[in-house]
């Protein structure tokens, strides 16, 4: 398929394709980080994760309307505020859900799946009743849509760069919090042994609520960022949920590093296959590869050594 192209054209395409892979990678990391905390650290199967993302997207939509209406001068910068509000909104909802539902179900992880599935149906219907069944169009500031021309042939999308930056910040933030902060130590203690953690004076209930809230908040940020590249509608969250779970499981659920490694593997596989094959086949082959590897290495790429 590369007949009749000059070397410079080909290298330009490969450069852009490499970037496409990287931006898919950051999208996957952003999707999966929140779930990696909730599912990986707490063992809760949150089927409503996609709906928490969409909440962030709707918050972004509302903020964009507010700015367009009242502060058109600052419209170019609304996105930063929107992301913060998305984090707060999804996080608060997450904490409320944890308090009302999840905390009663820690001993029954499979049941969290059913309950959060019910929650996702309810959230979808609430979005539909509030914002209408149609997709809403979030207008993105001009400076974020478009591309930087590095050479005549290589163009790098700015929104891709933006998502990468957000991903980098969030991932670093989570890493630092998890391994350097008091909260992180408490979370890890609770994950490893809930009873003992409680016995040494950690308020496990509060830790759980905060952890769930932060996980959902990150989902909200992801949803906010994805308004740049995807659609915002009541059912859009469903588009992300399977990929998200696969990334987390493939990485070895308990390891944040594993999540990042698995996002990298899956995104590169998919983006390379998509370039050389037709779209549907690429997706199937990617999923088959993932499941194949999981069959051989069911604990995921990275896993904690635990005695069972």
């Amino acid at each position: 398929m590369f007949d009749g192209y000059t070397t410079s054209e080909l290298s330009a395409i490969f450069a852009m394709q490499g970037f496409a892979g990287l931006s898919l990678f950051s999208v996957y990391v952003l999707m999966a980080l929140g779930l990696a905390i909730i599912f990986g650290q707490m063992g809760v199967i949150n089927m409503a994760h996609g709906e928490f993302m969409i909440l962030g997207a709707y918050v972004t939509y509302l903020v964009s309307i507010f700015f367009a209406e009242y502060m058109p001068i600052l419209f170019g910068a609304y996105f930063f505020l929107a992301m913060i509000l998305a984090f707060v909104a999804s996080g608060l909802l997450g904490m409320a859900v944890e308090w009302a539902m999840i905390r009663h179900l820690y001993k029954r992880p499979l049941d969290t799946l059913l309950a959060t599935w019910g929650l996702s149906l309810i959230l979808q219907q609430i979005y539909r009743s509030t914002f209408g069944a149609r997709e809403v169009g979030v207008s993105i500031p001009d400076w974020m849509m478009g591309s930087i021309a590095l050479t005549d042939l290589v163009e790098i999308p700015i929104n891709g760069l933006f998502v990468m930056a957000v991903t980098l910040i969030i991932a670093t933030g989570v890493g630092v919090m998890m391994y350097r902060s008091l909260w992180g130590r408490q979370v890890r203690a609770v994950v490893q042994n809930r009873t003992m953690a409680g016995a040494v004076g950690i308020d496990t209930g509060r830790t759980d609520r905060l952890t769930f809230g932060i996980g959902c908040g990150i989902a909200g940020v992801a949803g906010s960022a994805f308004t740049m590249i995807g659609s915002t509608g009541p059912t859009a969250g469903q588009l992300y949920i399977v990929d998200t779970f696969l990334v987390v499981v493939f990485g070895g659920a308990a390891s944040l590093l594993g999540t990042i490694a698995s996002a990298f593997t899956i995104s590169q596989t998919q983006s390379i296959l998509e370039f050389f094959l037709s779209g549907s086949m690429a997706k199937v082959l990617t999923l088959l590869t993932v499941v194949g590897i999981l069959m051989l290495r069911p604990q995921g790429l990275f896993s904690l050594k635990l005695r069972k």
Binding site: Y5, E9, I13, M16, Q17, F19, A20, S23, L24, V27, Q124, Q125, R128, G132, A133, R134, E135, V136, G137, V138, S139, I140, M145, G146, S147, A149, E155, P157, I158, N159, G160, M228, I229, G230, S231, T232, G233, P234, T235, A236, Q238, L239, Y240, Q270, S271, E274, F275, S278, G279, S280, A282, K283
Partner: protein, 425 residues
């Protein structure tokens, strides 16, 4: 049975809507239908309803069957709104054969077995006289056997792939050849396009449409197809295929992406620095109506061309009336796409067919349907073909930043529907 034009007019209530409908009714005087209402007493129920349908002395019940939950509700909401508007307007004019239309609405829930279940419920349980409904081909295929078994009558609004002609369905949208060929001819002639890249969501409508497009491009136009590929429904990452398109440098990207994928595709195309207003490559789509642009954002698709039979910006009297009535009923910020307009035709075509037949019996309505003309259609004049599809014009529109299309081309004559096209199999 003789149709005796009534001398009295039906009094409509003094509501806001009544006033509005009065205005619409005035515009309807240009229509072929009897402008004055028919009186139910002249058409005894026993005579106009011999098969036990839900028709009484003062009301006829029809069904509305669309997805109002699930992924397809994004698209089908507009159809429901248009059908309800048409029903209101018909009622304000006195209904069908002097009978008010009542409707039972069911939710197909974006799930094909549910569509089958609900259609059976409407036909068997509720005995509705006809159904306005379905959107995807899959939902239509699921309900088709039910309609044929129970002899129901369906008005189906979506542009679709053709290859079907049921005695129990009136297809008010365009079939594939009607929609595709005129657009390809136009882009080859006016824009001098030589090479095409075909792209679509992975299901039957895009695949069949691209098949027809490819045959037409290669065999009739003598041009070249550089690539053809499909992505799963709901796919949200298009950077790789955009790079592939960049590498192949086609003159035209022919895109039939649908649903949530649409938004992702156009946003990523724009972000990748492909400015469609420069028309190199030019983008031609048959799947993005004004409805979809709301989700995509006008600024992200500005400059793309769409080929279909109706655009909200069409400049004719019928359409101006229709657009203002639609906004009056559903809100100023509403937009109207091709399918919404086609759905609006359903109740009107049904009314015309029943009144021509002088009966609600499905067999008589079916017999009366071919040849029905609608001069009041927002898209202009349409006529029902022997094969249950509509004669209609095909138009090309250029997307504007405000989310509307500017019509740049329309066929001189009505295009004949041809669901089983020779030479395109």
């Amino acid at each position: 049975m003789t149709k005796r034009p009534d001398t009295e007019t039906v009094v409509t209530g003094p509501s806001r809507r009544g006033v509005l409908m009065g205005a619409t009714a005035a515009a309807m005087t240009a229509s072929l239908f009897t402008p004055k209402s028919l009186r139910a007493a002249d058409f005894p129920t026993a005579e106009v309803n011999t098969t036990g349908l839900a028709v009484t002395d003062d009301a006829v019940t029809i069904g509305i069957l669309h997805s109002i939950t699930g992924t397809m509700s994004i698209s089908e909401t507009g159809s429901v709104q248009a059908e309800k508007l048409a029903i209101e307007q018909i009622n304000a004019q006195g209904g069908i054969l002097g009978r008010k239309i009542e409707y039972i609405q069911e939710d197909g829930a974006s799930d094909w077995p549910t569509f089958a279940e609900k259609s059976r419920k409407l036909l068997v349980n509720d005995k509705v006289a006809s159904v306005m409904g379905c959107w995807t081909s899959a939902s239509r295929k699921a309900v088709l056997p039910v309609f044929e078994q129970h002899n129901g009558f369906l008005y189906y609004p979506t542009f679709y792939e053709g290859l079907e002609q049921s005695p129990n369905v009136i297809y008010t949208g365009q079939e594939a050849t009607q929609q595709i060929i005129a657009g390809l001819d136009w882009v080859a002639k006016e824009k001098g396009a030589e090479t095409f890249y075909l792209l679509g969501s992975d299901y039957i409508w895009p695949r069949t449409s691209n098949k027809i497009a490819r045959k037409h491009i290669e065999n009739f136009l003598g041009k070249k197809v550089l690539g053809e590929e499909y992505y799963p429904l709901g796919h949200t990452q298009f950077n790789s295929v955009i790079n592939k398109i960049r590498l192949r440098k086609p003159d035209v990207i022919y895109a039939i992406v649908v649903g949530g994928s649409n938004v992702a595709f156009y946003k990523q195309l724009k972000a990748a620095g492909i400015d469609m207003t420069e028309e190199s490559p030019l983008l031609l789509t048959i799947s993005v109506t004004e409805d979809e642009i709301r989700g995509i954002g006008g600024e992200n698709i500005e400059g793309a061309y769409a080929c279909m039979k109706y655009f909200q910006s069409l400049d004719n009297e019928n359409n101006v009336e229709f657009v203002s009535a639609f906004k009056e009923m559903w809100g100023e910020d509403m937009v109207i796409g091709d399918v919404t307009q086609a759905a609006y035709l359903g109740p009107w075509l049904y009314k015309a067919a029943v009144e021509k037949a002088g009966s609600f019996d499905v067999d008589k309505v079916r017999e009366a349907s071919p040849g029905i003309e609608l001069t009041t259609a927002p898209e202009g004049y349409v006529k029902v073909h022997e094969n249950h599809h509509l004669w209609s014009k095909t138009r090309v529109g250029r997307a504007q930043a405000d989310g509307q299309y500017e019509v740049v081309f329309e066929t001189a004559d009505l295009v004949e529907p041809d669901p089983f096209p020779e030479g395109y199999q």
